[in-house]
């Protein structure tokens, strides 16, 4: 398949991670905001984890795509592959 799943998936988790950690930073000093999560700023920490995961996936997918693009015997440009017959 020509679309490497890791690219959109990495993008999504990067964005979610960025949003969560930014929100976590913004709400860091609000009193009582994190009482239900035992005083742990879940948004910030888990957001950072997801950010790292998303970036890793994205970069892996990109690297793979570049590898495929640099292979000479791959005529698959713009998906013009003839299948079967």
């Amino acid at each position: 398949m020509n679309l490497d799943l890791r690219i959109p998936m990495g993008m999504m988790f990067t964005l979610v991670g960025a949003i969560l950690s930014a929100f976590g930073l913004a709400t860091k000093d609000r009193v009582g905001f994190y009482a239900q999560s035992l005083g742990i700023n879940l948004n910030l920490w888990w957001g950072l984890v997801l950010l790292v995961f998303g970036l890793t996936m994205f970069l892996l997918g990109r690297r793979r795509q570049k590898q495929l693009a640099s292979l000479p015997p791959e005529p698959a440009e713009k998906g013009e592959v003839r299948r079967g017959h």
Binding site: L3, S37, L42, G47
Partner: protein, 607 residues
């Protein structure tokens, strides 16, 4: 009450955008029906492997396993250790060579190649009906959960819509999204989104388990706060009376492990379709094995939240008296009867007429176990990550539906439409039929979801009928693949005999504490089982045995097919492929041994 802010909505929206975006991005690769129905048979093994378990990781799994964890404790992990892992190893090592190697495009098509037309027709019809109903049930469960959690209440208030529309809105929204991405990208789209959902579930539930464990004082704290038998998977399993589920070892091992587990993981096209989409034989065989690795670890993610929910302290109405600057302040936290009559975070079921908790026969409050996992999310997650948790739940519902829908459109198009309605059409035509079958399948699912509101028993009845049809299946495949003498007439009669036996057994037995009717005993009550799960497992054992015996007997009475026709379909007649060039640790067998050792180690740990 649930209070969602714009961050939660943003995350949910982001997920929907990406789900649809993947569908649109894949649209231009959908050139032939093979691309649409079989993902071009070109996907890498790890993607198919994660989709293999995600297809099963629908609502029933995430909510149901949490509920079961709250009700029975760690014994629920048997559904993984016995019910899934061995079957997944078996299908990867022994059965996949025939599914993938036969070039069949669906499981019913394999039955036609191995047996005959009527066996395929029987299997295709029952399977098509079941997938549509299952996706309808999944839709219904999701809409009910959205209602119970008040996810869209704020949105509806803001827009000035009547709250009665939430059920319809949830159903239409999920149906539309699933429809769009499958219509555009076919099986590839479904598989990609299942993988996305797999990671979302981990992203949403891992922090939940970690923070829940931290609150209760770690693993040892969890052990201390629930009854002793909750934390043992195997202790007490020798006798029905000494374990929470009321099942003895033979019913468990044979019924769950051999018949039900294998029947599902080895024959259900819903999961097999993902393995058949991989790029070559070695990958296809590795798919279920790759899937088994995260599957072993999933009890931590889906069962433990349920046990935690039971173990945490039950909230009660409390009043705290504080003095601030000389003024005395009474802070009262009011908790509804639903919450305070429950256990831990699991609420009691409330009788809507009296407003009091419903009681069981022994006077205990009846608990609404299905709320265990959702309540954990609401209890621990502040806004922000709460949006992520809810998105993970929604994603699991939608991908459960999507797997059913792609299985339906493939079986409908290839096994019913192409075989019996319109033969010899162009490839383009069948692809169009597949797209419209997707629309039809989703419309039928919506109808099922609405039927479930009006008829209280419809879900139980449907699930009962499925169990009758599914229970004997594994015997047919086992004999078909490993015994060259098995014939088409025999397979057909065997399947019917198996289903009939399942119905008969159900009609003659009854779980203790149940009245004759939907739970069994509708012919006469000859035997009482300690629990409905025990009855379930034994129904499956009887159905399997009946199918097995009838198929063997009828095979000997009918004429066998010539051996030349069965090459590639039966184990003993299929030449072993030359695999000397593959390094030993890259072979599926090596992975299988590793998975097996891991599963044994986990079972010892949970003993």
């Amino acid at each position: 009450m649930l209070n969602l802010t714009s961050v939660d909505w943003l995350i949910m929206l982001l997920y929907f955008v990406f789900v649809l975006g993947i569908g649109f991005a894949l649209k231009r690769y959908m050139k032939t029906s093979k691309d649409f129905f079989q993902a071009g048979r070109a996907l890498p093994a790890w993607i198919c492997g994660l989709a293999f378990i995600s297809a099963n990781l629908g609502a029933q799994e995430v909510i149901g396993m949490g509920a079961s964890g709250a009700k029975y404790g760690l014994e629920t992990a048997h559904f993984y250790g016995i019910g899934a892992i061995p079957a997944m190893i078996f299908v990867g090592i022994f059965m996949m060579p025939f599914y993938y190697g036969s070039k069949a495009r669906s499981v019913p098509e394999f039955l036609r190649m191995r047996f005959d037309e009527k066996t395929r027709a029987l299997n295709a019809c029952s399977f098509a009906v079941m997938t549509v109903f299952s996706s309808g049930i999944s839709m219904y469960a999701m809409a009910r959960l959205i209602q119970a959690l008040h996810v869209f209440d704020g949105l509806f208030r803001a827009l000035g819509w009547a709250p009665e529309g939430i059920f319809t809105f949830s159903i239409c929204l999920s149906a539309l999204i699933v429809l769009l991405y499958i219509f555009l990208g076919g099986l590839t789209s479904a598989i990609y989104n299942e993988v996305l959902q797999f990671f979302l579930i981990i992203a949403g539930f891992l922090p939940l388990v970690l923070i829940g464990l931290r609150n209760i004082g770690g693993w040892s704290g969890l052990k201390a706060s629930v009854p002793m038998q909750y934390m043992h998977e195997w202790k007490g399993v020798a006798h029905a009376s000494t374990n929470p589920m009321g099942i003895e070892i033979i019913g468990l091992g044979m019924g769950l492990g051999f018949v039900l587990g294998s029947g599902y993981w080895c024959t259900d096209f819903l999961v097999i379709q993902t393995a058949m989409a991989s790029k070559n034989m070695e990958s296809a065989r590795r798919v279920p094995l790759i899937a088994a690795v995260p599957k072993m670890l999933f009890p931590f993610l889906v069962i433990v939240p349920g046990i935690l929910a039971i173990g945490l302290p039950t909230p009660h109405t409390t009043t705290v008296v504080r003095t601030v600057n000389g003024a005395i302040i009474h802070e009262t936290t009011v908790v509804s009867a639903q919450v305070s009559e429950g256990r831990g975070l699991v609420p009691a079921k409330i009788n809507p007429v009296t407003g009091k908790a419903m009681l069981t026969a022994s006077g205990e409050p009846l608990l609404d176990y299905d709320m265990a996992t959702p309540n954990m999310l609401l209890h621990f997650f502040p806004t922000g990550i709460l949006g992520l948790g809810l998105t993970a739940l929604l994603a699991s519902f939608m991908s459960g539906m999507a797997g059913n829908v792609t299985a339906f459109n493939t079986v409908f198009t290839y096994d019913l439409y192409q075989s019996y309605i319109h033969k010899g059409g162009s490839d383009r035509h069948y692809m169009a039929v597949g797209r419209w079958a997707t629309v039809g399948g989703i419309l039928l699912s919506i109808a099922t979801a609405y039927a479930a509101i009006n008829f209280n028993n419809i879900m139980d009845t449907l699930q009962l009928v499925f169990s009758f049809v599914n229970a004997p299946l594994f015997a047919t495949f086992l004999l078909g693949m490993f015994w060259k003498r098995a014939t088409g007439h025999a397979a057909f009669t065997g399947l019917i005999a198996g289903t009939a036996t399942a119905m008969l057994h159900h009609g003659l037995t009854l779980p203790i504490e149940a009245r004759p009717g939907i739970h069994g005993g509708w012919i006469a009550v000859l035997h009482h089982y300690p629990s409905d799960m025990a009855q379930n497992f034994w129904t499956a054992i009887f159905a399997f045995s009946a199918n097995f015996i009838v198929t063997v007997v009828v095979s000997y009475c009918t004429k066998a097919r010539p051996e030349a026709e069965l090459v590639g379909l039966v184990h003993s007649l299929t030449p072993k492929p030359d695999r000397a060039h593959i390094v030993w640790w890259k072979k599926p067998e090596a992975l299988a041994v590793a998975v097996l050792l891991g599963a044994v180690a986990l079972n010892i740990f949970f003993y």
